[in-house]
């Protein structure tokens, strides 16, 4: 139980709605939700699907088709860029483990690293280490630094941490990404919100302002 509201976001960079969800949450945190404790936890979406018996939306052709159009609409109305990648999906376990390593060993750069749009706006294949290195080198201070973190990310400890985050989310009821767990200040009760489109309801619950989806011009 804490004296501040808290939001824990479980995300996987393979998920387009995680891309939007993380960016929108970070914008809210940077502007109107400054006093909320926000934690961004990497997890493995494929593991969530397997554990919950769910399947990716594109397994139903009509859903997959809808998703393309929906993502364009969300991009337009939010002002957040999106270009659907030519390779979808790709294996993101490497990227997620790297982000865990960044969270542990370069925590002040973690948010910047998550917010890179190599996959969701620049059509780069983030299952390839060279792509990850090129993406994060400018933030982390050079390709060598990224290489070091990549090496650390293959440690048993990091692999276990990703598995732990995934299992933790599953146990709490997650079935997809992004999944948010919200705790009001002074309460132990965790409320699960699924999807990048629940910030308006979260805002009302936490008695915080909701500036609308288009936050890109509001900083």
């Amino acid at each position: 139980m804490t004296a501040r509201h808290s939001i824990t976001c479980y995300y996987d960079v393979v998920s387009p709605y995680s891309y939007f969800g993380v960016l929108l949450l970070n914008k809210l945190k940077a502007t109107h939700w400054a006093n909320v404790d926000v934690e961004l936890k990497p997890f493995f979406l494929h593991g969530i699907m397997q554990g919950s018996g769910n399947q990716p939306p594109a397994t139903v052709a009509a859903k997959g088709k809808y998703m393309f159009g929906d993502l364009i609409q969300v991009s337009k109305v939010s002002g957040l860029p999106l270009k659907f990648p030519s390779n979808f999906p790709v294996m993101t376990v490497g990227a997620m483990r790297l982000l865990l390593a960044v969270q542990r060993h370069a925590s002040d750069k973690y948010i910047q690293c998550i917010e890179k749009d190599e996959y969701w706006a620049k059509d780069k294949n983030i299952s390839e280490p060279e792509v990850l290195i090129a993406a994060l080198a400018p933030i982390l201070g050079g390709a060598d630094k990224v290489q070091q973190l990549l090496k650390l990310s293959t440690d048993k400890e990091i692999k276990q941490a990703l598995t732990n985050n995934t299992n933790e989310a599953l146990e709490k009821g997650a079935f997809g990404a992004p999944t948010f767990f919200v705790k009001k200040a002074g309460s132990n009760k965790e409320m699960m919100f699924f999807g990048s489109d629940r910030f308006e309801v979260m805002a009302a619950l936490l008695e915080l302002p909701y500036p609308g989806i288009n936050m890109s011009s509001k900083l």
């Binding site: 052709a61 859903k63 809808y66 609409q73 969300v74 109305v77 997650a174």
Partner: protein, 221 residues
């Protein structure tokens, strides 16, 4: 091509998100006088079967989230919601009755959709007596006639055609909204009760936010 924006709202009374979406939409429409709205009855089960989708209530974790999600939206908007003990029930009869009412009692149609029998009072709307009790205050003694007409092959065909149309346009669930900008022929699909802010942006019309519903309702008392 119409010079006005339009929204086709495909609905089935079985769907909790459609119940909430319809009520939210009803509030928002008060601020959207320039949009032409058509409410089309469909069979959600028919849509699901056609596209090989599964209802979310079959997944326990999705179902639990849905109930909590709708309760929170209910708290925020003041729109009453209580998940019924008997779920699901067949809505084929009720939806065919609404198909009849859409044609034969058009001016009362929307009031007939806007009832809380199932998602507030938990009454079994698969039963004709429940339908009679719910709609008699609106359409009067004609309600039993409406129920008989619901069995007409012509009505069954119209209802089935609506469902087939929704599938052809890309629907895979409910509520599904087909939205056209003013002066455009292009139909854009929006799925779910949570896309109204996006739709407002798409049509360049105001989105006052869900939090405004309670205060605007109490202002009317």
């Amino acid at each position: 091509m119409s010079s006005r924006a339009s929204i086709i709202f495909y609905y089935d009374l079985i769907s909790p998100y459609t119940y909430m979406g319809f009520k939210v939409f009803k509030q928002l429409r008060q601020q959207w006088p320039g949009v032409d709205v058509t409410l089309k009855p469909v069979l959600l089960g028919g849509i699901m079967a056609a596209v090989n989708n599964k209802p979310l209530f079959e997944f326990p974790s999705k179902r639990n989230h849905m109930i909590a999600d709708l309760r929170r939206t209910s708290d925020l908007t003041g729109i009453p919601f209580r998940f019924p003990v008997q779920f699901p029930v067949s809505t084929v009869l009720a939806m065919r009755v609404l198909t009849v009412i859409k044609i034969h009692e058009t001016d009362k149609y929307e009031n007939c959709i806007d009832k809380d029998e199932y998602f507030m009072h938990g009454r079994n709307i698969s039963q004709s007596e429940v339908i009679v009790t719910a709609l008699a205050p609106i359409v009067g003694g004609k309600v039993r006639n409406m129920i008989q007409l619901a069995a007409d092959p012509e009505i069954k065909k119209i209802f089935k055609d609506n469902t087939d149309e929704a599938v052809a346009k890309g629907a895979f669930g409910a509520p599904t909204l087909l939205v056209k900008q003013a002066g455009s022929d292009q139909e854009h699909l929006f799925f779910g009760s949570d896309r109204f802010e996006s739709i407002a942006g798409f049509l360049s019309i105001p989105y006052p936010g869900l939090a405004s519903f309670k205060s605007s309702n109490s202002a009317k008392l």
